[in-house]
Amino acid sequence: MPVGILHHLVLAGVLFAIGLTGVLVRRNLIAVYMSLELMLTACTLGLVAFSKQNNAMDGNLFVFFIITVAAAEVAVGLALIVALFRKRGTVRSDELTSLKN
């Protein structure tokens, strides 16, 4: 069976599912954040695949903006994690329970 758009989309889906599992299972905030990035990358893979399928450049350009926004988001997110670590001394999500009850 020749490789078509379906194969790329299934790969994107599998990567997304692995990222989702990481977000739900891991307790280390940095690992959770990396899993989130993996989900974002899986989505961009889907966009690139559809862009080729529809013979349009728009999907590719959208991926460019997603990469830009992701870079900004990672910088802000990691700064938040550093600030949190300074204040609470931990980056484990099950120890950050001050909003509970």
Partner: protein
């Protein structure tokens, strides 16, 4: 040939992503993440988007992951906290993984993926609608730049502004408060 390459890079991406999620050591996880991102970048090359592949390696696998590794080193998270293994958590993870993969694969194999293309070819845009029409696909950086500086001029400016505000935000967030 390219089919073979796709399967190789897909296997690398899935294996590295699994390593990233499963490893207790955060540095190992970050290295797995880099491998997964490079494999996805290779997939971009196979999908006729070499510029995006290069960008992915430079920005994601390069800058972003170096930032991650830097923060991991700075906070020394593996020494201050240990991930406790619990079987129930991983069983839940496996169930979520299986359900998501199953749902996505089922939806993809039952969807008509050519429908949008057929609709676009049936009614070609004219006049003012042509501005909103899809740009023709190309592989060179020139085609990429043309799209960015014509149809997507405003989003491009906003992206630059977003990067500036993110930079200011980061400096404000990590600055130590004055005594």
């Amino acid at each position: 040939m390219s089919d073979c390459l796709f399967y190789i890079f897909a296997a690398i991406a899935v294996a590295a992503a699994t390593l990233m999620v499963a490893s207790r050591n955060t540095v190992t996880g970050a290295l797995g993440m880099i491998a997964a991102l490079v494999a996805v970048a290779a997939d971009y090359f196979l999908l006729d988007a070499p510029f995006l592949g290069v960008l992915q390696v430079l920005v994601y696998a390069g800058a972003v992951m170096v930032l991650f590794l830097f923060i991991i080193m700075l906070l020394d998270v593996d020494k201050t906290s240990h991930e406790r293994r619990s079987a129930a958590k991983w069983v839940l993870g496996a169930i979520v993984l299986g359900a998501t993969v199953g749902a996505i694969t089922y939806a993809l194999t039952h969807a008509d993926l050519g429908a949008a293309k057929a609709a676009a070819e049936a009614a070609p845009a004219t006049g003012t609608e042509a501005l909103a029409a899809p740009l023709p696909h190309g592989t060179t950086a020139k085609v990429f730049g043309y799209g960015l500086f014509t149809k997507y001029m405003l989003p491009l400016q906003l992206a630059g502004f977003l990067l500036l505000s993110a930079m200011i935000g980061v400096v404000t967030l990590v600055r130590r408060p004055k005594e």
